[in-house]
Symmetry: C2
Amino acid sequence: MTSVADRTTDEQLTEALARPSDDEIAQLDAWWRANNYLTIGQIYLKANPLLRRALEPDDIKPRLLGHWGTSPGLSLIYAHVSRLIRRTGQEAIYLAGPGHGGPALVAAGYLEGTYSDIYPAVSQDTDGLLRLFRQFSSPGGIPSHVSVTTPGSIHEGGELGYVLVHAFGSVMDNPDLLTIAVVGDGEAETGPLEGSWKGISFINPTHDGAVLPILHLNDAKIAGPTVLGRKDPAEVRSLFEGHGYEVLEVGGDDLPGMHHRFAATLAEAWGKIRAIQRSARDGGWNGRRPHWPLIVLRSPKGWTGPDQVDGVQVTGTWRSHQVPLSGVRDNPEHLAILERWMRSYRPEELFDAAGAPVALVRGLAPDGHLRMSASPHANGGLLTRALDLPDFRDYAVEVKKPGGAHAESTRRLGELLRDVYRDNPDRFRLFCPDETNSNRLGAVFEASDRAFMERVTDADVAIGRDGRVMEVLSEHNCHGWLEGYNLTGRHGMFATYEAFAMVSASQTVQHGKWLQEAKRLPWRAKVPSLNVLLTSTAWRNDHNGFSHQGPGLIQVVLTQRGDVARVYLPPDANTLLSVADHCLRSRSYINLIVIDKQPQLQWLSIEEAAAHCAEGAGIWDWAGTDDGATDPDIVLACAGDIVTMETVAAAQILRERLPKLKVRVVNVVDLMTLPRPKDHPHGMSPTRFTELFTDRVDVVFAFHGYPGAIHQLVHGRPDVDRFRVRGFIEEGTTTTPFDMTVRNRASRYHLVMDAINNAARLPRGATELKAWCEQKLAEHETYVVEHLEDLPEIRNWTL
Amino acid sequence: MTSVADRTTDEQLTEALARPSDDEIAQLDAWWRANNYLTIGQIYLKANPLLRRALEPDDIKPRLLGHWGTSPGLSLIYAHVSRLIRRTGQEAIYLAGPGHGGPALVAAGYLEGTYSDIYPAVSQDTDGLLRLFRQFSSPGGIPSHVSVTTPGSIHEGGELGYVLVHAFGSVMDNPDLLTIAVVGDGEAETGPLEGSWKGISFINPTHDGAVLPILHLNDAKIAGPTVLGRKDPAEVRSLFEGHGYEVLEVGGDDLPGMHHRFAATLAEAWGKIRAIQRSARDGGWNGRRPHWPLIVLRSPKGWTGPDQVDGVQVTGTWRSHQVPLSGVRDNPEHLAILERWMRSYRPEELFDAAGAPVALVRGLAPDGHLRMSASPHANGGLLTRALDLPDFRDYAVEVKKPGGAHAESTRRLGELLRDVYRDNPDRFRLFCPDETNSNRLGAVFEASDRAFMERVTDADVAIGRDGRVMEVLSEHNCHGWLEGYNLTGRHGMFATYEAFAMVSASQTVQHGKWLQEAKRLPWRAKVPSLNVLLTSTAWRNDHNGFSHQGPGLIQVVLTQRGDVARVYLPPDANTLLSVADHCLRSRSYINLIVIDKQPQLQWLSIEEAAAHCAEGAGIWDWAGTDDGATDPDIVLACAGDIVTMETVAAAQILRERLPKLKVRVVNVVDLMTLPRPKDHPHGMSPTRFTELFTDRVDVVFAFHGYPGAIHQLVHGRPDVDRFRVRGFIEEGTTTTPFDMTVRNRASRYHLVMDAINNAARLPRGATELKAWCEQKLAEHETYVVEHLEDLPEIRNWTL
């Protein structure tokens, strides 16, 4: 619980904020004009940055890119929040949902001096201005939208929909932080965004910070009107009151009237937030979900831009979304409009002779790290403290011999996570769509309830105001909250169904892109990794049926670059514990961990597991019969818990029935050991690859995911034609766990037959064994067909 | 415009509906009891289906699966809608958002007789009852949730979030249809669902049918309470009024009171829908978006189930979500509770001596195709009429020689689609997140405006009440609407950004699973294919930057089975026209078409294009230098527009500078020709594969997507080690189009060097040519680095 200023101070500050002096208005307006000027400069100019002479066609960029429409609104808000920070000392960050208004946010960082600190070539002088303008959306430059390169941002302005999930994630366990989240009315149409307003139902005013959403309605998106922009304002108000907010509305285009009204509205919002937090933190909270303020800001799209062009209305319409004036180089009239437009901001008042922002403009910026563009919360690696982790060995399953124990592997992980919660009450959270118990992670509830700010009843279990386990039936919220939590420097895990992990696949992709780009920027400190745990897997959704059977997320993560993507397939509890420990310590990766939650055979002692995971892949001597031979007759490889069991079972059948066949069993925990080192940093050396897989013996590879993944991973290894991969081939239904392996041709019997079909040398008895396997499979078919008639116990599934 | 009954008739019907007679109540209640009984039977029983003797442990299934909690609510609604249909003749279908309540919907189809019609073994007698119970969630049986096997459904109850998008899609251009869409309060937490309430902002009461959403609040999901279930009811009302609905609330658990109240509420909703439609269709509409009714139904979770078990409250809590009584075989007390519970429905009144539903129960069902389980709208292939398609050759770009024309390929497709709109005003729609013009498909606006029911202003262009082009900034809505439109038998296309197609990737996966399963059911008629067009591609988002650069959806579609998945990469306008024509005629596939919207070189005349597309892949003699040699020195293969241009350019460089090298150029339009015929029905024969790629010569393959895709596709073809694939390797930024190919090592110069490095035979001059390529790439690097300094025109990108 963080202390907040006393009520009197807050109320005095709120009142002062609500009534800016004439000097303050002048400063706000100067900063805003400077920002708008720089925004337009980025879109249009490659020379003559301060219009110290008349604009000429050659001053104009050859290709005009960027988004003007949303920018003046974004910068107006930025200016006013900056003033708020200066007056109150409030820590704040700024997330731009309409991040395509990138130039406004870049300009803000530039005016605050942060941009030049980070990128010295973009200095606060005429040369720097030129570079600022030229780099924008240009080859070798920066993207047109808010991106990893933008100081102060934890939110890419590309794919829309995630500004509120990032915002809510950023303030969890961050009691002093206020995150300003601007939501555009275009983005507001997306499903993920609409599903994220409910974040306040999970935010605790005592130990969490606050999100101030500002819904910026400017009526239009790229090519037409928006639903919220064109709805009756009473409906808009009703909608957000329904979401639980106190709606504050402000709108217009008159100046300085809008400055006065927006300042008053922002002050009111801040005052309400402080009052909510003060009440909660002073013990005066009635326990009801606060009605957090939300601002609806209505201002014209492209505000202060050219009203009409060629007789057509531009400002206030979708025509100002991107570049409101086209063909400026060739159209003298457009060139003249641009010059008038830019001069309307009176740049001569805003920049000094050297080209630097004048003191009035610079003076709006808060000090040091309070500048939103310099906030360490938006460069969360700076604030990251390693987790206080227990020894994962303490949660081990005792495994005296391979297959000698049976356990729900994720239950042990749950116990580990419970103690991570206990020992890190300020920097670890688990995010899960309503399945923590189902995933056997329920031990965490011994350390923390679920967070919930709506009504709680006496009958509820493990749920309450102080809870920090995050359950909401939305993969988008879970994933996005964790991203926001990670990017502001804290640790976590997202656990979900394997098939439904595809719901948020695009978030996984986009977060990976962010992490990859961040690694190229020395000023971006590494952040905790995004840990994704898939525990209800394709192979064990036999009871739920085909729609629940899909290992697609592995395939998605495999498309990402080696500097961010990791995929782990621990075959049992002890390997899972070792992998989880590794992932919780790692930074700036996407760690995908796949293991089922059902009771399963256990293979390795904890020390064996740790050694196996350190290698990432290894020979399981005890399972094979090759006795260290350089070249066995066949290699049985496996990655994934179910297929590992089938592989060990196949090897056992071969040992018993074809003892002279030299069989090697290789288990792969870290999938990224398979590619060549030049394709992934985890890729094992050629020597090691040959040690495991030889360079000529056929390999029967049983894989948890789609077989094609292995084919692509081993590309470039010696003689890849010899890899025969069994995996999930989209054969699913409601059936038995074992039948899932039969339908997908990855059962122990299929693997034995594959081994016989591909072995380098066949001992006597191979033909008979193949016939025996076919017989077994035929019996299985009969069993399945007859199943409905007698409905016996599901056959036990053992070695 | 469809006629609707006159006002007097409607009002009389509404009044009659609102006041069910005692006999009607008795019938509703009997049907509901029968349904609940069958639901519980499916979850628990494998014998003694009608409790004609005392329940014994051996009557109980060995594994208890299924979801009771939502089921009584689902069946209550079903009963009342059935009565409405019988009384009014309304055509209706029923989509169960909480489709995990599968047994209730299966039981409904069974009570209506449809189930036995389709699956004769599940007959309306004791044997059939036994099979009905045993098949449920059992190996060899049916999934636990509403699935493809459930008659009357177009909506899988697995992955949550899409019930409203399917519902709204089903009623577009379907003026006589009423779709009942039950939304569970768990599903209501997902982003896609929250983003789909706005469907009414796009539904025209004249030419579209109506969706009646019924938000079923039972307070809990699998393991805890729901946000909407625990919100202040005033907030819930406010939320949906904000979305634009007229909210009708009904709740409680008293009987027959709930029957009376629900009947009255449903009648009121129906009356309002008819009034809205009548007003619109009679010309009395004021043009404002109607306030369509929405019912909020509050009933206890697991209603009519065991109140408490082992002293713990079950009904009304999350504990009744799945199986409220566990361990029934071994716990005599639980067995007794189950028997009391099942007998509470008085099965002896509901089923006759043979085990068939009695006349009172059967009598609730509407006649024939009006039964919701038998509606042809839910088996849309029955209603599908082929599109009236123009000759795609009429839209051709004139290409006198390869590379002899330059055009925006998708613009021609837009012209074709315009005429498809014009000639099929009742059965074709384009769905696009606000980018129809940006995608160069704007010609469609000559035939139809965008649909929009919110306020339209004089300044708006191509938008209005009668519009049928669907633009909403939500991939989830676009994708899901099209699915609903397809599954009810109509045709369409979804056009979106390539990178952001991943937003709805999970919908693509789930729809593919639906189509695949449907093909196994003879009674499911084939439906129009889901056509997905990606037009702002990874390679040409040079200006937008890395977050917009990702060819992930190809990878996702490749994981689907060959019986549903198709991927087309037309290299120019004429091949695009031929591919589009093929896709618009096809049935029950997912057709993914990838081609950029920017001006590009054109290669093939329309007849050449048609021939090339018919083969799916072929040798481009004019581009190569092998003159029909059996084995050239190198094969340059390509799939995708940009990489095709680079490949042709590389071949040209080789022809000019290394004329003695025998180079073959192969272009692949239909990616699925690459796998073996046993892996995909489009897979080319071994002979044809060898004709194109030889069986020994190295292949340099330039691919639009991730290189690994080609490695997995050619698996099993002769000597796959010889394939060197260049493709998108997650190297992106804001740059020039050509630099995108350089960064990803797929530029013409890289391809030339690859050719030289891998050719079977090297003519004199090869070393010099490699050095020349390296020089070209070095110049390019310098050019990019210096670019910010001079910012010249972007270099033209030509052959």
